[in-house]
């Protein structure tokens, strides 16, 4: 009985392993194809329009070893993180405050939802006018762009909380603060994590766009400065590094999501 089960398990697990190998091989193949397409495109379009990937790679290596590229990355990351923290804080805190005042919520909600429609990038000139040309206008931009997805998700999450769980917690003697932290927060965590998948890459994009417009460092500045000097390789370096940054952030988010939602049934079923 047990040996049979063991054999079955073994067959099943080798099958799974082979499937995983196939997926990995497919991914590597796709990456090679993309690089090839880039290389061919560069040769067809000419160095002014598409930089050669080999040159881009070389420039990245020298940029990192000289520390210059690292500095640009640091500037952009720092801006993104601070702006993200501000937007995220208000995006989470505001729904929790509104939860306590249903009437205010009803009055304010249509205005908040309407303000989602305002194109935030169009406000940048105003931010510059109001807040100068330091980090402040860029932080406002990033903050706004992060605030909305987080606010909407957390707001919906709070509406979605199972009232029976809240009642159970109340009967058990939990204070309102404990209910917010334990029941509400955990119930809406998956909403929040989903909103981060939008908000975090957005924060980086917004930082880069902010740097196009004002500033003298950062990946956005690097891209724009290179363009002005017809340095297409520099433009591509900025794009590649920014993309890598976002991919790394996404990977970190997926990892965090797994950890936070470890208890969820779907997360485990999806493994195979």
């Amino acid at each position: 009985m047990t040996t049979q089960d063991g054999a079955l398990d073994l067959a099943e697990s080798t099958k799974v392993k082979w499937r995983q190998y196939a997926v990995t091989a497919g991914r590597i193949g796709l990456a090679v194809l993309l690089l090839l397409a880039w290389k061919i495109g560069a040769e067809r379009a000419g160095p002014l329009y598409v930089a050669d990937p080999v040159l881009v790679a070389q420039r990245i290596v020298t940029g990192i070893s000289s520390g210059e590229l690292l500095y640009h990355i640091y500037v952009t990351l720092r801006l993104s993180v601070i702006g993200f923290a501000i937007g995220c804080f208000f995006g989470v805190a505001l729904p929790f405050v509104l939860r306590r005042m249903p009437r205010v919520t009803n009055a304010v909600e249509p205005y908040i939802m309407a303000s989602v429609g305002v194109p935030k990038y169009a406000l940048v000139p105003l931010f510059i006018l109001w807040f100068g040309i330091d980090d402040a206008p860029k932080l406002w931009l990033i903050g706004f762009l992060v605030f909305y997805p987080v606010f909407i998700a957390v707001f919906a999450g709070i509406r979605n909380v199972d009232r029976r769980l809240v009642n159970m917690a109340r009967v058990a003697g939990a204070s309102e603060a404990m209910i917010s932290r334990e029941v509400i927060w955990n119930s809406l965590l998956s909403f929040f994590m989903a909103s981060l998948k939008i908000a975090l890459p957005r924060a980086v994009s917004a930082a880069i766009i902010g740097e196009f417009l004002v500033g003298d460092a950062g990946l956005g500045y690097l891209i724009e400065y290179s363009r002005q000097n017809f340095d297409t390789v520099g433009v591509f370096v900025g794009i590649v590094v920014a993309t890598a940054l976002v991919l790394i952030i996404n990977a970190a988010l997926v990892w965090l999501d797994r950890r936070v939602n470890a208890w969820r049934p779907t997360e485990r079923d999806m493994q195979i």
Binding site: R164, N167, R170, V171, A172, V183, N186
Partner: protein, 265 residues
């Protein structure tokens, strides 16, 4: 025991605001009155939809009443205003709800410890009591499982001991053994009776099952179809300690069963 009842329900009424105003006057419960003595095991039986859960929700102060009052130790609680509700009346009224309402992100043990945690009563003694209860209801080995990894009956048992563990003087139970097989059900009924006989809690126990109502209770109330009223009241004279599995052969059982069944309709 004492002349003063511990829990008193007076002219309690409830209607739900319906989406369309046309049947706004549909009363689920109308002028319901009864009282529970300190240390009494009261069973309530009634057809599905008769308002049993609604009644317990109002006693636990989860839901506001539309009229009437509930008195606890002769204090009248203002339960007609949703804003002044005091759910669980300061941890003195425990409530084992019809659904298990376990927190899905907490393991079995963490769920059972939840009330103690939020009440700030987590210590070696209460932890030992929780472990003891977990073993008692057959959940040993499942302490670190999440609710979705438990069977429906196991979840029910976890939710039952989550209330027992903090030892409130009054416990409301809404069909706690509904989803269990006959064997487990009998074991848990025996356990509940033993715990009750040791601690003499006051228990209000809602069930569909006439046999269960007789086997456990000192007294059984029969509720009518909505709007719920007391359709009958029966003292269960079968002496304690009772033998749950053999209770049907007790001479008083048959006649009681017949009388109650005639009223449950």
């Amino acid at each position: 025991m004492s002349a003063q009842p511990l829990l008193e329900v007076r002219d309690l009424s409830k209607r739900f605001a319906s989406r369309e105003s046309r049947d706004a006057s549909l009363w689920v419960i109308k002028d319901l009155s009864f009282s529970v003595r300190d240390g009494e095991f009261l069973t309530i039986i009634g057809p599905s939809g008769s308002g049993k859960t609604t009644l317990l929700n109002m006693i636990a102060q989860i839901d506001a009443a539309s009229g009437g009052e509930v008195r606890f130790k002769s204090e009248s609680a203002p339960i007609n205003d949703p804003k002044s509700l005091n759910p669980g009346l300061s941890c003195r009224i425990g409530y084992v709800t019809q659904e298990d309402n376990l927190l899905p992100w907490r393991t079995t043990l963490q769920n059972v410890l939840f009330p103690l945690t939020v009440q700030g009563r987590l210590n070696d003694e209460t932890r030992a009591r929780a472990a003891e209860l977990i073993r008692h209801v057959g959940l040993a080995g499942f302490e670190n499982h999440y609710p979705h990894e438990l069977s429906g009956g196991m979840r029910k048992r976890a939710s039952l001991i989550r209330t027992l563990v903090y030892d409130p003087p009054v416990i409301l139970m809404d069909e706690p053994f509904g989803a269990l097989d006959a064997q487990t059900r009998a074991v848990l009924q025996e356990d509940l009776l033993r715990l009750w006989e040791m601690g003499r809690k006051t228990i209000v126990f809602v069930t569909h099952d006439i046999g269960e109502a007789i086997a456990l209770g000192d007294r059984t109330l029969v509720l009518s179809r909505a709007p719920a009223k007391v359709a009958g009241e029966h003292q269960i004279t079968i002496p304690r300690p009772r033998d749950i599995r053999g209770i049907m052969s007790h001479p008083d059982f048959g006649p009681l069963y017949q009388r109650i069944r005639a009223q449950v309709q």
